[in-house]
Symmetry: D2
Subunit: 248 residues, 4 copies
């Protein structure tokens, strides 16, 4: 049996990629494409069971209120959520037993898994460093993902009571040893032709473990959204972050 | 407070690497080096709290009986265990409340983590292949680790009801697409200079996740053994495999 | 001083990427976009110094005759050339002193360099293998580039009187050791999300050298075409292949 | 026909690895192992055709004078050479027609090739960065090889009149973008378990080329020394650096 899906923000770049993803999936049926100005009633009329929302911070709360009150599960990639908004969503869910809402800042499955694996591995290695690679038009260095990865590693090391990493460096050119993020070195490469890539490297006696994440294009969020669509009915209430959908 | 450690098989290549590892660790104290012909009583006399056994299938059961009955925990890398032997060890443990025994076929932490991560990631990707790299003196292809990795991926895909991987190949040179292990392609490279390395590659829309494991030398089992030594008192009874010590 | 460039086949996918590349380059000026049905006279009227031809086997010889006879250099990616056509182009060039024509089957600079470096390195290593990675819609395995790379390595090894590579494999799963291309093992991975990638690996005592080529998109030929445009006036007569433009 | 080889400094760590390498090679015959205090006359008595010198700055000039004057070719890895010493060696060679001497600071073939390929590739890419990886006991960062690689790339870019690399970074954590070596960014990773590794990455439209060099152990100089031994008779006079022996 297929799941009936409505897409909100269907004409945006991200929304239209979700539309294409739903259309390409055998187990999903696209029943509504909603964009600014369209009535949400179409969702009910067409029997949508799950909606995907990639709209705007202004529109998303109204969308969620409508859907949750109509018993429609929601998978949300729209930004602008804070604790107050999360609580509001929890309240709506409480009043509508069994409705699930997934709000995630990052639907790129490979990145979410990479960060989770990094936290799991961190306690067992003497050394850990992160090297991220991006196209040269990127404004910030290191990337937000690399920062978050390093912070996760640092936290896992602290919890395991690991001390500082071994590093005998006495003479170093400025910058050669990377940025220090809570004791974890992070290096940022900017390279024409590349998209977005990350090496998370762990080392101990005679061995290393490297978790490498490559993004080759702009649609890397689609599989994560579809994973959300397939699982949201089994996760009633509010879930923040894709992790629990990935068995992490 | 340090943990007092005895090493059995202390003069063997593996055992002597364990001896060096224990000596190098601040939180461990080496209190006995036992080899063939030496009396096990030294362990009790010197107050060993944990022993490490890399001896022989002939010697290991006697060693375990002695240690368990004397309340000494054991970390065992010796081979030759079957279900009958496991049951015997469980029985000895039952009679000695609180004694822990860890028996593991593979103490290379990075390899154990890589296999576990591969199983976790497998359900979320369309494609998965394994490429292993070894020195050219290796007799079998693919390596046992690569085989086991592929089997784990295949099992995780079956449990997630994934179908066959996408592959439009119509014209292929014999062997170019690798060996088929339960539907997972495995490729074996033999390369002068290399030691033992494995790429586990997963792909879905616009992204890949690669788990890379590198062994650079013969002592890659040492950190796993020490992790066992530190944790065995918290794992009473018999544990098979390092996984549960790694939070997997 | 800028070079005035005309593009033939300007409305095709490849041609329009060349148009964009010329427009983005400070030292090149686009003076004509020609497609099927347009008159070649525009090239002369607008003072084109170099043309780029990505048209069809049917159209290209007429285009070249016109351009060479009008003293316009040509950079050609159109397929369908054989020795007879090459000779015809040489004859036209002989009659028009100083005109340069570059015809190349592959303008992806990184791939051309990778193959050349592989040939250079091959005589100095005991082992060499090729692993190529492509999206799963590819029909053939291994890729043409990987085949050509392996053949180049094999030839370089023969010229250096190297024997067979070391390989002690006694027990192998069918296909695990890859396809045998003139004694060089080639492995083909098919992975959702990937584009086109190649590892050329060389190994000898305690060291390896890996030449990795990654294509992330469909415009990887553009820099090579522009390198051809900039250099063609300095290479009078017919040149086949980009190699000599890259100092190889 | 085999080449008769004498090793000077035969009992040192490096010299004894050369001895083992010569013994393992079918086309080379070890005829003399000389160490401090041994007479060089043994070389002549045993018919040495080529000597390998890994001794000391104090010993090497005397060794070379003796060998060259006795018509014995020399492959030298001993350090401490300056222009004055080179000139002295050239003078001795002039007086002994046909005798070849190779003096090289680096015999690791993969590293010498990697640096040469980097120089060749540099003019054709918008971006170039170097990431080196070493064990954490290394005192300096970046490594000497990485520095030299970056300087070679910078020089090749200058000769090709390339400008600065594209880099839109506006906000950067200190050190994240690496050390600036003549405009080429260099990153140094220090990782337990690793030996010595280098990624030289080049990028342009939709593609990258990566030259990766891995050292797994301490004997990576041996193949380069043997390449020198085999080729020195064909390179009369003084040659500095292995490059010309590698067809570079």
């Amino acid at each position: 049996m297929t799941i009936k899906v409505g897409v909100l923000g269907a004409k945006g770049r991200v929304g239209s990629a979700v539309v294409a993803g739903v259309n390409a999936a055998d187990d999903l049926e696209l029943v509504a494409e909603i964009d600014a100005g369209d009535s949400l009633d179409t969702l009910v009329e067409n029997g949508a069971q799950v909606i995907v929302d990639f709209t705007t911070p202004n529109a998303v709360m109204g969308n969620l209120e409508f859907c949750i009150n109509n018993g429609i599960h929601a998978v949300v990639g729209t930004t602008g959520f804070d604790e107050e908004r999360y609580q509001q969503v929890r309240d709506w869910c409480s009043a509508n037993d069994g409705v699930g809402v997934l709000i995630a800042p990052n639907f790129a499955i490979s990145a979410v898994l990479a960060m989770a694996f990094a936290r799991q591995a961190a306690p067992f290695f003497d050394s850990a460093e992160v090297v991220e690679y991006h196209h040269p038009n990127k404004l910030d260095a290191p990337s937000g993902t690399a920062l978050k990865t390093a912070q996760g590693i640092a936290e896992a090391r602290r919890e395991a009571n690991l001390g500082a990493m071994p590093d005998a460096t006495e003479q170093a050119l400025d910058g050669s040893r990377g940025a220090d993020v809570d004791g974890v070195k992070v290096h940022a490469v900017r390279m024409q032709g590349m998209v977005a890539h990350e090496d998370i490297i762990f080392g101990t006696t005679d061995q290393t473990l490297t978790i490498r994440q490559d993004s080759y294009g702009r649609d890397s969020f689609v599989p994560g959204v579809l994973t959300g669509v397939r699982g949201v009915a089994d996760h009633p209430g509010l879930t923040v972050g894709l992790d629990s959908y990935l068995g992490l």
